[in-house]
C-alpha cells in the first residue's frame, strides 16, 4: 500500500488502464501538452503520445460527442471536463446520446464512456465555476454517477468506471486533489460501482456524506464522541446506482439519520436519500431524516458569504444534535 495524493491516485488509475487496454484514450481541454488544468493527467502525453492523449479545442458538446461516437465503435474514451461546470454544454450528448444509446438501439450499441473532472464547491470561484453538478446526472437512467472521496476510492472507482460498459459520470473535487491517503498498488484493485463505504462505525446516528462534506462530518463525529454521541458515517461513493441497502442497514441500526450535501438543497441528492429512508425504514426511525445542504442561492464570490453558502461544521453539528435529542 502506497501513500499518495488523490490526484496521483487518479493519474495512476489512468496509466494502469491505458497500459492494460489500448482502446482507452483520454481527451479534453489541456489534458496533454499542459499536463491537465489540475495536473491529473500529468505525464500521460509523455508516456502515451498524442494519439491517446488528445488535446481538444473548447467545444464541450463536440468533443463529448466524439467520445460517444468513438465508444460506439468500441473505443473506451475518458473525456475530461476541465471542470464539471462546463459539462452543461455537453449535457445533450451525455443525456440524449450516451445515456440512451444502448436502450434506443435495443442493446446493439453501448457506450463505454467516462466523463471525468472536478466538480463541487471550489475556493471563491463564484456562481458559474463552483457548482455541484451531479444533480444534472444522477436522475438520468442509463448513466452511472460516481463521487470518490478518498485517494484509494479515486483509484479503485476510476478503474471500475473505465472498465464499465456504460457511460459513467465521475466527478472529482478540486479541493481534494492534494489530500493524501493509502492507495493499493495492485493494478487489479477495483472498487465496484454501486457499493457504499462505512467510513466510521457508530451506534447513535447515521450521517451520509461524500467528498468535502465527508471530511467535515468526520471532524464533527470526533467532537460528538466526546459528548457521548456515536456517529456512523456512510459514504455512498456511487450516487447512481445508490447502495440503498448499506444506507438502510445503518439507519436500521442507529434509528436516526442526517444527510449532508454541498449543493443547493431543494430537490438534491439528500432529498432522494431522505425520501428512500422514510419510505423503506419508517418504523425504524426515531426522528425525521434531517438534511444539511448548501443554501438555495447561487455561489457568491465574497469569502464570508461563500462560507455561509456551504454546510458548515456548526450546522452539521446542530443537525446531528437535533435528531439525537
Amino acid at each position: 500500500m502506497a501513500v499518495m495524493t488523490y490526484r496521483e491516485a487518479l493519474n495512476l488509475a489512468l496509466r494502469e488502464e491505458m497500459r492494460r487496454d489500448p482502446r482507452v484514450f483520454v481527451m479534453g481541454e489541456e489534458v496533454g501538452l499542459y499536463d491537465g488544468a489540475y495536473k491529473v493527467t500529468q505525464g500521460l502525453l509523455k508516456e502515451f503520445g498524442e494519439k491517446r492523449i488528445v488535446d481538444t479545442p473548447i467545444c464541450e458538446s463536440g468533443f463529448t460527442g466524439i467520445g460517444v461516437g468513438a465508444a460506439m465503435l468500441g473505443l473506451r474514451p475518458v473525456v475530461e471536463m476541465m471542470t464539471f461546470n462546463f459539462s452543461i454544454l455537453a449535457l445533450d450528448q451525455i443525456v440524449n446520446s450516451a445515456a440512451k444509446m444502448c436502450y434506443m438501439s435495443g442493446g446493439q450499441y453501448n457506450v463505454p464512456l467516462v466523463v471525468r473532472g472536478p466538480g463541487g464547491p471550489a475556493a471563491q470561484l463564484a456562481a458559474q465555476h463552483s457548482q455541484s453538478m451531479e444533480t444534472y446526472f444522477y436522475h438520468v437512467p442509463g448513466l452511472k454517477v460516481v463521487r470518490p472521496s478518498t485517494p484509494g476510492d479515486a483509484k479503485g472507482l476510476l478503474k471500475s468506471a473505465i472498465r464499465d460498459d456504460n457511460p459513467v459520470i465521475f466527478i472529482e473535487s478540486e479541493t481534494l486533489y492534494a489530500i493524501k491517503g493509502e492507495v493499493p498498488e495492485d493494478p487489479e484493485y477495483l472498487i465496484p460501482l454501486g457499493v457504499a463505504a462505512v467510513r466510521r462505525e457508530g451506534t447513535d446516528v447515521t450521517v451520509i456524506a461524500y467528498m468535502g462534506m465527508l471530511y467535515r462530518a468526520l471532524e464533527v463525529a470526533e467532537e460528538l464522541d466526546k459528548d457521548g454521541i456515536s456517529v456512523e458515517i456512510v459514504d455512498p461513493r456511487t450516487l447512481r446506482p445508490m447502495d440503498t441497502a448499506t444506507i438502510l442497514g445503518s439507519v436500521r441500526k442507529t434509528h436516526r439519520c442526517v444527510v449532508i450535501e454541498a449543493g443547493a438543497g431543494f430537490a438534491g441528492m439528500g432529498s432522494e436519500i431522505a425520501a428512500t429512508i422514510q419510505e423503506e425504514a419508517f418504523d425504524d426511525l426515531d426522528a425525521p431524516v434531517a438534511r444539511v445542504t448548501g443554501e438555495n442561492a447561487p455561489m457568491p464570490y465574497a469569502r464570508n458569504l461563500e462560507l455561509l453558502k456551504t454546510p458548515s461544521k456548526a450546522k452539521i453539528l446542530a443537525a446531528i444534535r437535533r435528531v439525537c435529542a
Binding site: 458538446s61 465503435l73 438501439s105 446493439q108
Partner: protein, 329 residues
C-alpha cells in the same frame, strides 16, 4: 451549383441496384404512411419521399464496412445501408423483432449488422457522433469512412460548426451530407441561414465543399464517391450539399406542408422525382427495359408486403424489456 456529368456508360447491374433501392425506400414509406393512418405505427413518422436519390447514391459510393449515421428522417439511409425491411417495419410497429426490439421506433433505427449508427432525434447532435466514429476509425488504423446525413435545419446549430472544425483540424474521414430540402419544418432556408449556399461553409475550415443535384442518383454517387476516396486515402472530411426536396409534409402530423410553401412549388418539384428521372435515364440509355422496371416494381412491392406481414406477426416486446438495455451488464 456545381453539377457533374453522369458517368458515360450506365451499367445494367448498377442501374437495377440503384433503382431497386430507391423504389424500395419509396414503397416502404408509402406503406408506412398507410400503416400510420391505420394506427399501426405511432409517434412521429418523417418520410424521406423525394429524397431517395441521396441515400441510395451516397451509399452506392461506399463499401459495406463503411458507416452511416443520420437524423430522425432515416428510413432511407437505413434501408440503403442494407437493413432488412422486415425488421425496420417491425421496429415501426413497436415489435420484438424490430431492429431495436421496438424500443427505438421510427426516429431511432440502429443496425449494427450493417454499420448503421442510428437515427438521432436531436437536430445536430449526430454530427459529433459521426466525427467520433471517424476518430475511432483513424485510431484503430482502419480505412473506413463515415457518411453523416443531416438536414439544412441542422446548419444553424452550434454542433455543425464544432464538428466541421474538429474534423478539419484532426483530419477525420467523415463525409457530411447536408440534404438541403429547403425547409426545416416550416422554415425556409433563407429565414434560417445568413449563408444559404451550405456547401460554402466548408471553405472557412479549409476543407472541400461541393453542391450536387440531390435528385440525380448518379451525380450523388460520383460526388460522394470523390469525397469517400479523399476520406479513405487522405483522412479528410468533406461537406456536400445535396439539393433536394421533400414531397410530403415534415411528418405525418404535418401532412400537407402547405402553410410555408405553395402547392405550385410542391408540384413543380415533384416533376423532378428522382425515381422517375432515373427510370427514364435507364430506359434511354438502354440499361433497363420497361419489363425490368415492372419486375423491380413487383419485387419491391412483395418485399414491402412481406415486411408488413413480418411486423404484424412479431410479438410486442415482453414487459421485462422495459428494463433491459438501460445498462449493458
Amino acid at each position: 451549383m456545381k453539377t457533374v456529368a453522369p458517368s458515360a456508360r450506365l451499367d445494367s447491374e448498377l442501374a437495377r441496384r440503384l433503382l431497386t433501392q430507391m423504389q424500395l425506400i419509396r414503397r416502404f414509406e408509402e406503406k408506412a404512411a398507410e400503416m400510420y393512418a391505420m394506427g399501426k405505427i405511432g409517434g412521429f413518422l418523417h418520410l424521406y419521399i423525394g429524397q431517395e436519390a441521396v441515400a441510395v447514391g451516397a451509399t452506392a459510393a461506399c463499401r459495406s464496412d463503411d458507416y452511416s449515421v443520420s437524423s430522425y428522417r432515416e428510413h432511407g439511409h437505413c434501408l440503403a445501408k442494407g437493413s432488412d425491411p422486415r425488421r425496420i417495419m417491425a421496429e415501426l410497429f413497436g415489435r420484438m423483432d424490430g431492429l431495436s426490439k421496438g424500443k427505438g421506433g421510427s426516429m431511432h433505427l440502429f443496425d449494427k449488422g450493417v454499420n448503421f449508427l442510428g437515427g438521432h432525434g436531436i437536430v445536430g447532435a449526430h454530427l459529433p457522433l459521426a466525427a467520433g466514429a471517424g476518430f475511432a476509425i483513424k485510431y484503430q488504423g482502419g480505412d473506413q469512412v463515415v457518411l453523416c446525413y443531416f438536414g439544412d435545419g441542422a446548419v444553424p446549430e452550434g454542433e455543425f460548426h464544432e464538428s466541421l472544425n474538429l474534423c478539419a483540424l484532426w483530419k477525420l474521414p467523415v463525409v457530411y451530407i447536408c440534404e438541403n430540402n429547403r425547409y426545416a419544418m416550416g422554415t425556409a432556408i433563407h429565414r434560417a441561414l445568413a449563408q444559404t449556399e451550405i456547401w460554402r461553409f466548408a471553405e472557412t475550415y479549409g476543407i472541400k465543399g461541393e453542391a450536387v443535384d440531390g435528385m440525380d442518383v448518379l451525380a450523388i454517387r460520383d460526388c460522394v464517391g470523390r469525397a469517400v476516396e479523399r476520406a479513405r486515402r487522405e483522412k479528410v472530411p468533406t461537406l456536400i450539399e445535396a439539393r433536394t426536396y421533400r414531397f410530403r409534409g415534415h411528418s405525418m402530423r404535418d401532412p400537407a406542408g402547405a402553410i410555408y410553401r405553395t402547392k405550385e412549388e410542391v408540384e413543380r418539384e415533384k416533376q423532378r422525382d428522382p425515381i422517375v428521372l432515373f427510370s427514364e435515364r435507364c430506359l434511354k440509355d438502354g440499361a433497363l427495359t420497361e419489363a425490368d422496371l415492372k419486375l423491380i416494381e413487383k419485387a419491391v412491392a412483395d418485399q414491402v408486403d412481406e415486411a408488413v406481414a413480418f411486423a404484424e406477426a412479431s410479438p410486442e416486446p415482453p414487459p421485462e424489456e422495459l428494463f433491459t438495455d438501460v445498462y449493458k451488464d
